[in-house]
Amino acid sequence: MTVVAVIAHALLGSGALLALVRLARGPSLLDRVVATDTLLVIISASLAVHAALSRDPTVVPVLVVVSLLAFVGSVSIARYVGGMLLRSEREGRE
């Protein structure tokens, strides 16, 4: 079980590191939104893997909070960028 834990955490950690690379390098705001979304999903997956491998259901309610947070964050940033788009195109037209 220790070997499985090491392999799973290595996979999850390298995935999170690559998502962090995209979060740092991303040319636009939307790339960073996508990277943040993926990073939160990877965090919740690693919490679930930890809970499953140690048979410890303490962190399971945290999963609900993290998935809620990912949805609210990405939707609010998308609406914010859409509002910026609307305002800038209107200013260009008038």
Binding site: L11, G15, L18, R22, V41, A52, L53, P57, F71
Partner: protein, 131 residues
């Protein structure tokens, strides 16, 4: 009994490892793919299948109905919210021209956006506010 629990453990560990591998593929795709839409295609992969696999593995490993119900809630919530956020992000990405149009095979919105400007009526809050 012990053979059955060993089989259950093997199935759970296989699900967990497959979910972790999907997370790694999401990271690789995020770094290597060229624009927002394809990065979203790669990044949403563990959001549905990876989450489902990890939650199934966790529900097998954690004996107890409370944890299983909560993991089922997380999986259902991911299934409900991933299309909504992906739709909003991709729509804004298309309108802000963060799309490599030379890589697209079919672009049905290019002809549609000639006539009317921003307000194409996807939802009322996006249109110009009556003032």
């Amino acid at each position: 009994m012990s053979a059955l629990s060993q089989i259950a453990d093997v199935v759970a560990v296989a699900c967990l490892l497959a979910g972790a591998f999907l997370c790694l593929t999401a990271g690789v795709g995020l770094v290597r793919f060229p624009d927002v839409l394809s990065r979203m295609h790669a990044g949403t992969k563990p959001q549905v299948l990876g989450t489902l696999l990890v939650m199934v593995g966790g529900a097998i490993r954690l004996h107890g109905l409370a944890a299983a119900w909560m993991l089922l809630l997380v999986a259902a919530f991911q299934l409900l919210t991933a299309p909504v956020s992906a739709h909003m992000i991709s729509r804004v990405a298309y309108r802000r021209r963060h799309v490599r149009r030379d890589l697209l095979l079919v672009d049905e919105l290019r002809d549609a956006e000639e006539g009317d400007g921003v307000n194409r009526g996807d939802e009322p809050a996006d249109g110009p506010q009556p003032s």
